[in-house]
């Protein structure tokens, strides 16, 4: 009754369908909104997002700017990668940092992960969106990332002040999106809503999309804290008494601010090995983000504040 050889669906076919859906969403938003922008966080999802944007409008150039919120604590390799991508794809790259936060010396260590993230990411993002006058922002969020995301819309409405109100979210019928905005409203748009982490990696492999090398294993200087491996990317990282970075073969499943992103021990230094490891290790990728470790609903409360 179940899968016989002739009915088996190739993984490529699933990717084709996901790609088509994402391109549809990109085009719809680009056509409907006055001033869209693409959020670019330099990670693998952003790399796929960028690749999809390029495909959606080829042979024309990506018809909107690309925005990076720089918290000043990103891995150094990420910044170098970002600048190279911008050059290679001829992107209109905008970088924004919460200057106020920098002035006040906000760091993950002085203010705690949660407050730091609120100021340097959430507030910074709001500032950048307001300042740019953007009415829509593309993001690479996926529904499989976290339980509360399963209910996220592809076109997610934000009230004035970027507030996300569960009750104001619009019903999504068919492929038709209500892209109309009332005064002060904006839209977050997630073309990759239906992708899984595995889809992302398979697609990266198939399309030969370049990603930041931090995703692949290498000897890196790390310290172990509360059971998490943290890479010491520069000398700003305050070591505790007796703590000494040691070289270990690690990679990252997700990339963010280096003091808040845990590494996993791994030998996978290429895509094939990485995919193989993923099929065995079936933990959700957010397990590696220290900021999300505060219970299943924490993403939701952050979102109501305007976090992406």
């Amino acid at each position: 009754m179940s899968s016989s050889a002739e009915t088996a669906i190739a993984p490529d076919a699933v990717l084709d369908a996901l790609e088509a859906e994402a391109i549809h969403v990109f085009r719809e938003a680009a056509g409907a909104f006055r001033r869209p922008v693409m959020l670019y966080s330099i990670g693998k999802d952003s790399s796929v997002l960028l690749h999809l944007a390029v495909k959606a409008f080829a042979p024309a150039r990506v018809p909107f700017p690309v925005l990076h919120i720089d918290t000043t604590w990103k891995f150094r390799e990420m910044i170098a990668f970002r600048d190279r991508m911008a050059r290679e794809h001829n992107l209109d790259l905008k970088v924004h940092t919460n200057a106020e936060g920098v002035k006040e010396g906000v760091t993950p260590f002085t203010h705690g992960a949660h407050e730091y993230t609120r100021i340097m990411k959430t507030v910074a993002l709001r500032e950048a969106l307001d300042h740019g006058g953007y009415d829509a922002a593309f993001g690479g969020a996926r529904r499989d990332e976290e339980r509360s995301r399963a209910k996220e819309r592809v076109f997610s409405l934000r009230e004035p002040g970027h507030r996300w109100e569960p009750r104001k979210q619009r019903p999504e019928f068919w492929r038709t999106a209500n892209t109309q905005l009332a005064d002060g409203q904006t839209m977050r748009v997630f073309p990759m809503s239906n992708w899984t982490e595995l889809d992302v990696w398979r697609y990266i492999q198939r399309e030969q999309i370049e990603v930041v090398p931090l995703y692949f294993s290498k000897e890196r200087p790390v310290v172990e804290r509360d059971g998490q491996l943290i890479m010491v990317d520069d000398d700003r990282y305050p070591l505790r008494d007796g703590e000494q970075p040691e070289m270990r073969s690690v990679r990252f499943r997700t990339l963010g601010c280096y003091p808040l992103t845990a590494a996993v021990e791994s030998k996978a230094d290429n895509l094939d090995d990485l995919l193989a490891e993923m099929l065995i290790d079936r933990r959700s990728e957010r397990a590696g983000r220290l900021i999300d470790g505060e219970g299943g609903g924490s993403m939701e409360s952050k979102k109501t504040e305007g976090y992406f």
């Binding site: 009754m1 179940s2 899968s3 009915t7 088996a8 669906i9 190739a10 993984p11 490529d12 076919a13 699933v14 084709d16 369908a17 996901l18 790609e19 088509a20 859906e21 391109i23 549809h24 085009r27 719809e28 680009a30 056509g31 409907a32 495909k55 959606a56 409008f57 080829a58 042979p59 024309a60 150039r61 529904r143 499989d144 339980r147 509360s148 399963a150 209910k151 569960p166 979210q169 619009r170 019903p171 999504e172 019928f173 068919w174 492929r175 038709t176 209500n178 109309q180 009332a182 409203q185 809503s193 239906n194 198939r206 079936r282 933990r283 959700s284 397990a287 299943g296 609903g297 939701e300």
Partner: protein, 631 residues
């Protein structure tokens, strides 16, 4: 890209992603069933499984340490607290065939028909839960009705909690018979009824040891054995592609969109908006590469052989020959349609909504409510309005002719949204039954003598000055003084006065917020006719609500409508009280009096602000300036 063109094309026709809507009433065991399906197909990360081992909702009887499958699909915090599902959630299921299933988990409560409709709108399959201990209930009929209406053709009915009825064959047969009978009312291709226990796992992923009398598929098998309609049927559906964006680069000009029905090859002919002459397709491009063919579901860019005026919102369709002729979506301005009302606000008769279908957006009005459908009994009853979660049959009229298909032919070109023009909320989902052909006769005639011609003859620029303010602010006084001045200058004017229209045109309306909205709408439409006639129209109307004024302004071209706030301090207004209204309101005999019993919302961005307590001549001069009339 590694795959060849023909391989890829076939792959998409195979429908690599199947969409499933899961429906059931609260406590039927839907979360448990879905959780089991997800866990059993390795579609859930291990740390979430751990969470479901260690976290319990109040009232749960499942011992800690065992997986509570219902926790796997747990979502928003607000729902944790209420212990119910209030919104549609989407989850991935890796089917053994390699096909991906996206399960839309729709909430069970009766009041969430609209969310069910959302989940069903894209679904190929419905999983419908029936609790064996409770039997077939009104909800079962509701779910069947909504699924069938939204175009779901395959239904897997899971008769759940068989463990609680002793795995009895007789009990199952009775329920299965009842469900089959209920389903027979609808146009469904396949109904599979499966006896399961979501709690113990019987017949979910694995065959039940306790129900040897059952020989049909498990739920997972039933999902996996689903097949898309045969290719011949799909290609019979004529080509449709709504244009989303025009891609321009150097010499290149392409039309980008998703093929929603049929297929297209270079050399095929298409017609823009189903009118005019067929044009040949030159290139079919996917992801920057030329293809020999593209099918429904693919995002493509087409170039045409002849230079044509095609923009976003246009629909490219196969020409009306052969089999396609019957289905040709000749543009029309009136349609019979089914609506699912999703708005907080009720349907307003005669109000202009925005109709959105694909990338198309056009003003539309519900011209007749034919009836409301009882989603449990299927009966149609007469209705004057729809409120949230109502389903019914209406006639709608669009401002301009649009090419829409019957929903049964194509969901994407036959389904539409109605959007409220001020709040921008989606107030309804619509499903076209058919175009109303007689509407061809009422397509507005493009008259040769137009607003501009009439205005030229009068030697003036027509404008609408919309004076808003508290009762007694001085709107009528200003309107009168301004009209006298303009008249004296030989200009053609008319004052539409709030009190005046209430004795005639609007004498059927009261002062509730709804009636005030309708009052404003009618005055605005009248002003629009007068503007078209070439007049300078001075409207003097309290119009206390921002939303109503914004809706009025939306009827006009930029610049034709000037919002004038006659701003008078409320002490002055109460003092003046020319008609004794404030006195009455204070005495309590006038409940909805603006400024006393009802709010006045001052304009946020008025074009002109007049001091209603200031010098009248100065006010008139201010308005003359705004009209750009030399004085």
């Amino acid at each position: 890209m590694s795959s060849t063109s023909s391989k890829e094309t076939i792959a998409l026709v195979e429908h690599p992603i199947v969409r499933v809507v899961a429906c059931g009433s609260v406590d039927d065991g839907k979360s448990t069933l879905i959780g089991r399906l997800l866990a059993g197909t390795e579609s859930i990360p291990d740390d979430i499984l751990d969470y479901a081992r260690n976290t319990r909702r109040s009232g749960s009887t499942i011992p800690k340490g065992e997986v509570d499958f219902s926790m796997l699909t747990d979502g928003l915090e607000a729902e944790h607290e209420q212990g119910i599902t209030i919104d549609v959630a989407y989850r991935h299921l890796y089917l053994p065939s390699g096909r991906r299933a996206i399960i839309a988990d729709a909430p069970g409560h009766e009041q969430y028909t609209r969310n069910m409709a959302v989940a069903a709108s894209t679904a190929d399959i419905a999983i419908l839960l029936v609790d064996a201990t409770r039997g077939i209930r009104p909800q079962t009929h509701r779910h069947l009705t909504v699924c069938a209406m939204m175009g779901v053709r395959t239904v897997i009915v899971a008769i759940n909690k068989m463990d609680a009825v002793g795995y009895e064959h007789v009990a199952f047969e009775e329920l299965a018979g009842g469900v089959r009978k209920a389903a027979a009312r609808f146009d469904l291709e396949e109904v599979e009824v499966v006896p399961v226990s979501a709690l113990t796992g019987d017949n979910v992923l694995e065959r039940s040891q306790s129900m040897s009398w059952y020989h049909g598929p498990t739920v997972l098998e039933a999902l996996t054995s689903w097949r898309p309609a045969p290719v011949e049927d799909q290609t019979k559906a004529p080509f449709r592609m709504p244009v989303q964006v025009v891609v321009r680069a150097d010499e290149f000009r392409g039309y980008a969109g998703t093929v929603v029905a049929g297929s297209i090859r270079p050399g095929d002919k298409v017609v823009v908006n189903a009118k005019g002459s067929p044009i040949s397709v030159e290139r079919v491009i996917i992801g920057g590469q030329d293809r020999e063919e593209a099918h429904a579901g693919q995002a493509v860019t087409l170039t045409l052989e002849t230079e044509t005026d095609v923009t976003r919102g246009d629909l490219l369709v196969a020409p009306a020959d052969g089999e396609a002729a019957e289905h040709f979506p000749r543009p029309a301005t009136a349609f019979a349609a089914d609506l699912v009302w999703t708005g907080e606000e009720e349907l307003r008769h005669g109000r202009s909504y925005l109709l959105m279908a694909g990338s198309l957006a056009v003003p539309a009005v519900v011209t007749a409510i034919r009836g409301r459908r009882d989603v449990v009994t299927g009966e149609e009853m007469s209705a004057r309005t729809f409120k949230m979660n109502d389903v019914g049959h209406v006639e709608i009229a669009t401002d301009t002719p649009v090419p829409l298909d019957p929903y049964s032919l194509c969901r994407d070109t036959g389904g539409f949204l109605l959007v409220e023009r001020v709040s921008r909320d989606t107030v309804a989902a619509g499903l076209v039954r058919h175009a109303l052909r007689r509407a061809h006769n009422v397509v507005p005639h493009a008259f040769t003598v137009d607003q501009e011609a009439r205005a030229r003859l009068k030697g003036q620029t027509p404008r609408v000055l919309w004076l808003t303010g508290l009762p007694g602010a001085g709107k009528s006084t200003v309107a009168d003084a301004l009209e006298r001045k303009l008249h004296g200058m030989g200009l053609h004017t008319y004052v539409l006065d709030g009190d005046g229209v209430r004795t005639g045109l609007n004498k059927d309306l009261g002062f509730t917020p709804e009636d005030r909205a309708e009052n404003v709408r009618r005055v605005a439409e009248t002003a629009k006719l007068m503007l078209d006639a070439g007049l300078i129209v001075i409207v003097s109307l309290v119009s206390p609500f921002r939303g109503d004024r914004r809706a009025a302004k939306a009827l006009f071209r930029e610049g034709d409508f000037l919002e004038v706030w006659v701003d008078t301090p409320s002490e002055v207004v109460v003092e003046r009280d020319p008609k004794g209204l404030y006195a009455k309101a204070k005495a309590g005999t006038l409940p909805n009096m603006t400024g006393v019993g009802q709010m006045y919302e001052p304009p946020e961005n008025p074009d002109v602000v007049i001091d209603g307590a200031g010098d009248l001549d100065a006010s008139v001069n201010q308005l003359l300036d705004a009209l750009e009339v030399t004085h």
